[in-house]
């Protein structure tokens, strides 16, 4: 243990005592003036106490996340079973989205086990709750790698959680498969990205808006790394393509007060809104959007984090007609998707929709299986070496792993949300787009990375 967490504990203890001492004076319910001043002291004590608890909690988390041994933890692949880690938020603001990813990962693992496992070994999933809290993600990643000694980990949704666990996986030389679209501009030797990078989702969505003649946009997002980076890219694109960005607003993750933002969007009279809100802030945003009298016909919202599952819980009466940008919808044609949707509904219920991140998560397990089988080893270094060119007939269509960037090729699809809660495709890129996480193929993006 390093000395820093110790210090945090000490200082927290002393502030807790100073909080206690505030109560040594007489306190009671009677006496108008006396009780008021004691109330002040009680409040001061409460504040001190709250700070102390917060500090203690932070100290504990820092310790668990950062204090690691020097040696990389080796995955335990000696027995008949191999453990794999599932790291998703099962509570908090992100649970609305991430629970479905966990369910999808479990489905893939179950199918693989039923068909004989990987290299003859059955997979045993170990699920951990990241609780929508980034330090917790790092702590749980460390636990999966070191205590459970998993062969690979699947999960994370927000870029903030991915950035929090990235050093943990790199330090321990263990693999993470990340199944969600993200803001690009990142490469890690120990992360495989099976969701879209910007040139497979955001850039095609902007191309689509441009082709529809939308000349001005308003940007709304959650206040963390993905929306801020995505909006940086969007602004660079807009500048190069003659689009106007009329405003840019960020709400804290989990925020539910959107009336002012809706008013600002309305007053801007933009042609369209580009929405990078995450989690159930979307619920409050779209309720307010409708309350402000804004409609999908007058000012369409393009969302990059709302899939079928979110549509279901936000309520299609708020979302009908709005646009989404993804690489997969439940309605995507193809035998692989029919089988996936059927298997998912059979396991989790007829009313459960499938969505893009779920599909990317499902695909990621199969890609890992193919890499392991090609490498004939669970060793992360050998798995990585075998990754280039691996293909899988995924529900979204055939995907190919690019070994250099550790991203996969994907078809971009724009969809329109229907009143039944499903998303109908209105446009697609025709073929799978090669990943370009640093947007090297785009001149306007030269100043970004």
């Amino acid at each position: 243990m390093s000395s820093q967490p110790e210090g945090v504990h000490l200082s927290s203890r002393s502030s807790a005592f100073s909080g206690l001492s505030a109560f040594s004076g007489p306190s009671g319910l009677n006496g108008p003036s006396g009780s008021r001043s004691s109330r002040r002291r009680v409040l001061a004590g409460a504040a001190a106490l709250a700070t102390a608890f917060a500090l203690t909690a932070c100290g504990a988390k820092t310790d668990a996340a950062g204090g690691s041994s020097d040696q990389a933890a080796k995955a335990d692949t000696s027995g008949d079973t191999v453990k794999v880690g599932l790291l998703n938020s099962l509570s908090g603001t992100m649970a609305i989205s991430e629970v479905t990813v966990r369910d999808s990962l479990r489905l893939a693992i179950e199918e693989i086990n039923a068909s004989g496992g990987v290299l003859g070994k059955q997979l045993k999933p170990v699920s951990e709750d990241g609780a929508s809290d980034w330090p917790t993600f790092a702590e749980k990643a460390s636990k999966l790698i070191k205590e459970d000694r998993v062969a690979a980990t699947f999960g994370c949704w927000t870029s903030a959680s991915r950035k929090a666990v990235k050093p943990v996986f790199e330090k321990n030389k263990s693999l993470l498969f990340y199944p969600v679209q993200y803001e690009g501009l990142e490469e890690s030797p120990y992360i495989f990205y099976t969701g879209a990078t910007t040139n497979q989702q955001i850039v095609p969505a902007l191309d689509y808006l441009k082709s529809k003649g939308e000349k001005s946009i308003y940007l709304v997002g959650s206040d963390y790394v993905f929306p801020r980076t995505a909006n940086k890219i969007i602004k660079a694109y807009a500048k190069a393509n003659g689009m106007k960005v009329l405003g840019e607003d960020y709400a804290p993750l989990g925020s539910t007060e959107f009336s002012t933002i809706a008013n600002k969007v309305k007053a801007s009279k933009a042609d369209a809104v580009f929405n990078t809100l995450n989690g159930d802030s979307n619920v409050a945003f779209f309720k307010e959007y409708k309350s402000a009298g804004l409609t999908a016909e007058g000012m369409p919202v393009v969302s990059v984090s709302i899939a079928e599952e979110e549509v279901k819980s936000i309520g299609s009466q708020y979302l009908a007609g709005q646009l989404t940008a993804w690489n997969y919808y439940q309605t995507t044609p193809g035998a692989a998707n029919t089988a996936f949707v059927k298997a998912y509904k059979a396991k989790y219920g007829k009313d459960k929709p499938t969505s893009d991140p779920m599909e990317a998560a499902y695909t990621s397990v199969y890609l890992w299986k193919a890499m392991v089988e090609k490498a004939k080893s669970f060793d992360p270094e050998k798995v990585k070496a075998a990754s280039d060119g691996i293909t899988f007939d995924a529900p979204e269509g055939e995907v190919t792993v690019d070994g250099a960037s550790q991203h996969i090729s994907k078809t971009a699809r724009i969809g329109k949300i229907g009143t039944d809660g499903l998303i109908e495709q209105v446009w697609d890129s025709g073929e799978a787009i090669e990943p370009d996480p640093f947007l090297k193929g785009y001149d306007w993006a030269s100043g970004l990375s």
Binding site: L90, G92, A95, T256, S259, N263, K290, G315
Partner: protein, 298 residues
């Protein structure tokens, strides 16, 4: 012009939400001096009551209206139970009360997680609350959202009902009597322990009503109370403890301030500026806003 009016309305509606969540606390914290950290969880109980009722009653409008009294009773009963089991033994030990109610709040959060699951849930607003009223038509229309008007009406009704109850009913007189001088109230034949429990029931019940209103704004989750409780305490402390009118004025002042600042800056900057203003105000007037004469907060 419509922007200014629209933002003022938004500010008033944020203020109405603040007022609803702080109103119950103005009784239990303001009048009774109990720092109840579980107040936010009583709000959560009210919100989940709405959710449960919506599952069993088909019409969204009916279930919302039924939820108001039911949530009042559910949260009130939880509050009365908490008072009877724990708080009445701790009246002269404020720090212990703080810790105990914090523990209770964690237990209630976990209970909600076990019963309703960790992911947040949503309710469907009835159709008559999803639309809006056009106040000024034309190219640049000014519209007020029905759900916000409903919350505003609810907040006003709750304040009027509470202040009338405190002023006119014998229960209200007894509550004020106990607050002003507990010993004298007791020798005058008032059962102070019963008054305490009733006050706590009322305060917690109002939290339940606030929970119903919050379902119209955002999602319902086990941790929704933790975010709310800080705002509620802020309103009470700035408004002046034990002062209903201070609570009302400050709730609306903070709401308008937040919305105006948010319009000209960003959400986070507006939050910071509001907190800075509160800190500065409390330096100048540590006892909080007490009388109508010092309305000069904004």
């Amino acid at each position: 012009m419509t922007v200014i009016l629209g933002q003022t309305f938004t500010g008033i509606s944020i203020g109405a939400v603040l007022l609803l969540i702080a109103l119950g606390l103005s009784l239990t914290f303001g009048q009774m001096n109990v720092i109840n950290m579980a107040h936010g969880e009583f709000i959560m109980a009210g919100a989940y009551t709405t959710y449960v009722l919506q599952k069993s009653i088909s019409g969204a409008g009916v279930s919302l209206l039924v939820a108001l009294p039911v949530a009042f009773l559910v949260a009130g009963a939880l509050g009365a139970l908490l008072e009877w089991v724990l708080i009445r033994r701790l009246y002269l030990r404020p720090l212990d009360t703080l810790l105990v109610t914090w523990g209770v709040s964690l237990m209630l959060q976990q209970l909600a997680r076990d019963i309703f699951g960790a992911p947040n849930v949503q309710t469907r607003a009835p159709d008559w609350l999803t639309g809006n009223i056009t106040v000024i038509g034309g190219d640049d229309p000014l519209t007020f959202a029905n759900s916000r008007l409903f919350i505003l009406a609810l907040a006003v009704a709750a304040v009027v009902a509470l202040s009338l109850a405190l002023r006119l009913t014998s229960l209200g007189r007894r509550i004020r009597g106990v607050v002003q001088n507990r010993d004298l109230a007791e020798v005058s034949g008032i059962s102070t322990s019963r008054v305490d429990r009733t006050t706590f029931f009322l305060g917690s019940g109002l939290a339940g009503v606030a929970g119903v209103a919050l379902t119209l704004v955002g999602p319902i989750g086990p941790t929704m109370g933790t975010n709310i409780i800080i705002d509620a305490f802020l309103v009470i402390v700035v408004g002046g403890i034990g002062q209903l009118k201070g609570t009302v004025i400050v709730a609306f002042a903070l709401g308008v301030m937040q919305s105006v600042l948010e319009y000209s800056t960003t959400v986070s900057v507006a939050k910071v500026l509001v907190l800075v203003a509160i800190v500065a105000f409390l330096q100048w007037r540590p006892q909080g806003l007490y009388t109508l004469r010092t309305r000069s907060l904004v």
